[in-house]
Symmetry: C2
Subunit: 199 residues, 2 copies
């Protein structure tokens, strides 16, 4: 049933448009907003417009940035000889959480997917090729998703970069740490067998 | 890990403050906002401030309203001789969805709960007593939640109203339609037995 108060119904519909948010959750969120003080509601609204207007793409790596360059590209301590290529800004944060990687990134903003009409020109491949021109980068790590689209994108980019004399590597496939082997799918398991190492 | 872009991190934190929204969901929501067009983001932000500024409490029943009175209190076809007392505006919509009830409502905005320091003066009981003064209402249906607090509130109000010569009733307890008896808890089942009717 639609709410008979237009401003409330409108707010619920805005929340419902978010992926993974059902009607009940959207409703609960709208009531949460109604329960805020006026200042809190204003803060929330300006957090939305602020994030939207202040966050741009980094000129170098296409990651999210609140300036010309993102914090990682600004950081002089990062190793520019290695570029890790990911599909999405969230993947950058996932890798940063490991605290293991000291190189820089390149965010494609998608993967090649002919089914969805996304070709090489629709993602930031041109920008990647352009930044490799200076000869600083020695290795590109393909960290696209372990999906058909991510694989295809990694292969496509790898074929472009190899003739430029750049080492191209791919994240290892295998069983996730802490998971139960019993529940691993066949493809993952066979990749884990292939990639086995001596202990 | 906190995002190193203040406007993004701020937006994520706003979403995270909502009950039932974890970090991952808040993050996905913030990225959803970044993916909107500028106009869509502005619309979203004004939906929040609009809902907050335009929605008030109905002067009569304390339900949500975008005017002096809520749509139900404005409706001349509703039967003013029966008032259904609920804890929350969402409960009004739940009952409205049945299309069975033709009376009016009173929204308490909570239930008596000494554990949470909510006494009779902290919910809209005074307002209920005040509107009963005109003698139009003959029956009050207590539709507070079937919880300890809801029960206590129903009992408290019932004791106030009975001396005024008003019939006070309570929603029936029993097994939910369509549920499996096997999974019904003991308290619900014993209430369902108590309230059994001839067929």
């Amino acid at each position: 049933m639609a709410y008979n108060l237009a401003p409330l119904q409108n707010l619920i519909e805005h929340f419902e448009r978010m992926q993974g948010i059902g009607h009940k959750t959207a409703q609960r969120m709208a009531f949460y907003i109604l329960g805020l003080t006026e200042d809190e509601a204003k803060d929330f609204a300006s957090a939305i417009t602020d994030a939207h207007t202040k966050i741009k793409q980094c000129k170098v790596c296409c990651d999210l940035a609140d300036d010309e360059l993102c914090p990682i590209c600004k950081d002089e301590k990062r190793d520019r000889s290695v570029i890790c290529v990911v599909e999405d800004p969230r993947d950058v944060y996932a890798i940063e959480r490991t605290h293991e990687y000291k190189g820089v990134y390149h965010v494609l903003h998608g993967a090649i997917s002919p089914m969805d009409n996304i070709g090489p020109d629709n993602i930031r491949i041109k920008e990647l090729i352009a930044r490799l021109g200076d000869g600083v980068c020695q290795e590109v790590i393909m960290a696209t998703n372990p999906t058909v689209e991510g694989e295809a994108t990694a292969m496509y980019i790898s074929r472009l970069l190899k003739p430029m004399g750049i080492t191209v590597s791919r994240l290892a496939y295998g069983v996730p740490v802490g998971a139960d082997l019993e529940y691993a799918d066949e493809v993952t398991l066979s990749r884990a067998l292939e990639g086995r190492s001596l202990i």
